[in-house]
Amino acid sequence: MSKRFLRFCAASVFALLPGLAGAEGFGFLPPVCTQSGRQIDHLYLTIFGIVVALFVLTEGTLLFCVFFFRQRKGRKAWSMHGNNVAEVVWTIIPALILGYILYLSSSLWTKLRIDEPSEKSNLVVECLAEQFDWNFRYPGPDGVFGTPDDVMTVNELHIPVDRTVILKISSKDVIHSFFFPYARVKQDAVPGLLTKVWFDVDRMGVWNLATQKPELVTLDQYNGMKVALDGFDLKDPVVNPDGLRDYSYAPSAGIKQVPVELDGKITQLPPDQAAYVAHPYEIACAQLCGPGHFAMEGHVVVQTQADFDNWLKTAPDLGPTFRQKWNEAWDSQHPEFNKPNP
């Protein structure tokens, strides 16, 4: 039995412990980088606690009956047709439990999806899904979508930390689903329909060069670290004895100076000075969209406000083909998608 399997058993036992509500990265839940994501985890773990309690109660009764009421010599079963009081009790109590879950879920659902943040005061990004890529578009300096100064990227969503970002999603061909696991966010991209989702990312992704492990840090921690913004490459994974792939960052070949950020100031330093490397989060497609469904990977780069504004000004222009793609699939078909809601 490989080490990995033993660790899986340990993790599964830990995952079964009821009611550890609020524990970060409980069980198999991946780390979470948004406040709304934490609330979803909290709700998930509350339901998990209730479910485990009900599980122990019912399976326990089953096992008890199996052992205690076995067929023995001369024993006769009770001739009992039912008990109305019991029926009422085990209808009311589950109804109350479900009502409690319903109350928790409905308040969170209203907060997440029904009461939308207004698009005037928050950063709005448009996302056009297509067969096997994510296209993103920023309004650019004039703040209006569909104008030539829009900034476009492919499979790379840059967002500032500690700000609410609204993502307006649609699709060009088939139904895809924008899935940002660390933010616990998922929303289908339906052609011909504008769907919206918002997230308030408050953790930045960095890669610890010492332990070769990704970490999530708040903005304050980030400011206290020496983080290399560029100049490092994520090497192809090496398959370790457990059959898993170990990722690692290393300075790209022959690079002398890398931009290292410390408390907002970027200085050029030799690669070995940097303790961390900026590491993007991952987004995926969660709705079957064709043969390339498994390869629709994208990245979310969370930056400080200054870095983000700097990136927005210096983002490379992807050329006329992308502008034409956005025009064909978005602006010409659905100009109303570009207008912010009141």
Binding site: I47, V174, F179
Partner: protein, 608 residues
């Protein structure tokens, strides 16, 4: 319904079922086994055909698991022989398109060609007339027609494997525009053939539903009031309502999708679609979500069709082997009726994140949360049945106990998806796959194995080999849990569904070992089914000869010789008590008394 009193001797009509016998006893081989009106033969035809298709569905699942565990590694043996054909690329590994075909066909075959025909066609056909004391179903010719429609439906389905560009590859749900525009999904003619296959299977399912509803409502033996119906017949009644009224919506949706694919209409295609750089050739104006609404309006009642009959089977087995009346018969029937009521208004929980209006998401959450109540009440009543029983652990009882414990896990893991915020994260991940496999495999298929060994004497007049059946139960229970419980962890970690491989994603990296573990337990699970296959076909001819009532059951089929003669009851039975009067004082020293045993004078007959 006219309450038929205990009319004692002279029944109003000489035969409850009809004047002369419905249909003369056939003599030629063709009329006895192929185009037969006898509900028992049609039941066996359904049983054996769906068990064979289960082997096909299981095989597809095994190929699926190979690709997930060892992505793009050539499949040993099969990959080498079938290089370049079906799902395999030229090097014998499964191609991404092939993976989609495997996934879609596994779902379609298992739902439309295995589970529904097995529990409704097989058990329903064979047992409903016996349980209500009738000679045959109401419309025997329609019954034979619905089996042969089902058999005809399997032809286009099997053909779709051999057509160029392969079988359906848009998931068993066939969401447009993927299933709609020519270039979007890899398959082309194959998907249309599969839609035709669903069409025919749905039509056979509707006719079956009509047949059973009328049989249960109109052909009950004298004295068999609604309060004395066995719970399996109640479950089949509610299932027949779902079949009869929900399946036509699938026919409507499939007709529109076939129109879209063949006549290039665009019911589900919005205007301005761009596929592969070129504008899709459709006139636009439709909505992709329209298909999801119509499909899930059918598909949620369909998943209740998959579980309700086996709830009935489990209730029958549990009471017979606990030697004790079922706990709260009325509560069980009320919870079945409330599942029927709620089953039609919960379909939106499949669409919480699909772009459906969030206000509707709230409404569907309320109805979905409260549909967990009837299932909960049924579980508590099953436990009440076991409480104070005198439990015998033959193989049917072991499978029924497996049914309850797996159904508890499956039901509880469903509550996570009912709460919409949790569903935002869990939708389309392996958590959902774990949930529905615990229900459809852990509960339904366990109850099917239990039902087969329980009624094997009535099917084939012989007993199944008990030790082999118990070994099969143990292996299946262990490997089932080892296969599907870790999928909860995959889903919790965010592993998406229908991924040909997860190697692209760094956040799924730590789960690769788990996928390998699941694949190997799935293979052991598949191997342990061979024990059942051997036991089933061997005992059919060489099993121990069965007596009339080997398990001392109360229901009417145990008053008949096994195997059951052509016209079931030579004189129509008269029913004097409910089906579950085990260990009642009326039974005297033995702890059971059949429904049709006349009441002993001087003893107080059963309450209802």
């Amino acid at each position: 319904m006219s309450e038929q009193t205990i009319s004692g001797t002279t029944a109003e009509a000489p035969h409850a079922g009809g004047g002369g016998h419905h249909h003369p006893q056939p003599t030629s081989f063709f009329r006895r086994y192929v185009w037969s009106y006898d509900h028992k033969v049609v039941g066996k035809q359904y049983l054996i055909t769906s068990l064979c298709f289960m082997l096909l569905g299981g095989g597809l699942a095994m190929l699926l698991r190979w690709q997930i565990a060892y992505p793009f590694v050539p499949v040993p043996f099969i990959g080498h022989w079938l290089k370049g054909m079906f799902f395999f690329g030229n090097n014998g590994a499964i191609t991404p398109e092939g993976y989609l075909e495997l996934g879609a066909m596994h779902g379609l075959v298992m739902i439309f060609f295995v589970v529904i025909p097995l529990i409704v066609g097989g058990f329903g056909n064979f047992l409903i007339p016996l349980h209500i004391g009738a000679e045959d179903v109401s419309f025997p010719m329609l019954n034979a027609l619905s089996y042969w429609l089902y058999a005809a439906a399997s032809v286009p389905m099997l053909l779709s494997f051999f057509v160029d560009k392969g079988a359906a590859a848009a998931g068993w749900t066939n969401y447009p525009p993927l299933s709609d525009i020519a270039g979007a999904s890899p398959s082309s003619l194959g998907l249309t053939l599969v839609l035709v296959a669903i069409y025919l299977a749905g039509f056979s399912s509707i006719l079956g539903g009509v047949n059973f509803l009328v049989t249960i409502a109109k052909l009950r033996a004298p004295g068999m009031t609604w309060g004395r119906l066995p719970l399996l017949t109640w479950a089949q009644f509610i299932t027949a309502v779902f079949q009869c009224l929900a399946t036509p919506m699938l026919a409507a949706g499939a007709s529109m999708l076939i129109f879209d694919r063949v006549f290039h209409t665009s019911f589900f295609l919005p205007s301005g679609l761009m596929v592969g750089g070129a504008a899709a050739a459709n006139s636009g104006g439709g909505y992709p979500l329209l298909w999801q609404h119509i499909f899930w309006f059918y598909a949620h009642p369909a998943v209740y069709i998959l579980i309700l009959p086996t709830m009935g089977i489990a209730s029958e087995i549990l009471t017979t082997f606990s030697r004790k009346p079922v706990f709260g018969y009325k509560a069980m029937v009320i919870s079945l009726a409330s599942i029927m009521g709620l089953g039609f208004i919960v379909w939106g929980h499949h669409m919480f994140v699909s772009g459906m209006n969030p206000m509707l998401g709230m409404a569907f959450m309320v109805s979905t949360i409260f549909i967990a109540l009837p299932s909960g009440v049924k579980v508590f009543n099953w436990l009440g049945t076991l409480w104070g029983g005198n439990i015998r652990f033959d193989s049917p009882m072991l499978f029924a106990l497996g049914f309850i414990s797996m159904f508890i896990i499956g039901g509880l893991s469903g509550i996570f998806m009912a709460s919409t915020p949790a569903d935002i994260y869990l939708h389309d991940t392996y958590y959902i796959i774990a949930h529905f496999h615990y229900i459809v495999f852990g509960a339904t298929i366990f109850a099917v194995f239990g039902g087969i060994s329980f009624w094997f004497p009535k099917f084939f007049g012989r007993m199944m080999n008990e030790p082999l059946a118990k070994l099969h139960w143990l292996l299946t229970l262990v490997f089932f849990n080892l296969t599907f419980f870790p999928m909860h962890f995959l889903g919790e970690a965010g592993h998406m569904r229908r991924l040909a491989t997860s190697t692209d994603y760094e956040f799924l990296n730590s789960l690769a070992g788990l996928n390998v573990f699941i694949t190997w337990s799935a293979y052991y699970l598949g191997l342990s089914q061979l024990i059942f296959v051997f036991n089933f076909f061997h005992s059919m001819f060489y099993g121990k000869k069965a007596t009339e009532n080997p398990w001392q059951g109360n229901t009417l089929e145990w008053t008949l010789p096994s195997p059951v003669p052509y016209y079931n009851f030579d004189v129509p039975p008269v029913v004097y008590r409910g089906p579950y009067e085990y260990s009642s004082e009326e039974a005297g020293d033995k702890d059971w008394i059949s429904q049709s045993t006349p009441p002993v004078p001087g003893m107080t007959p059963a309450k209802h």
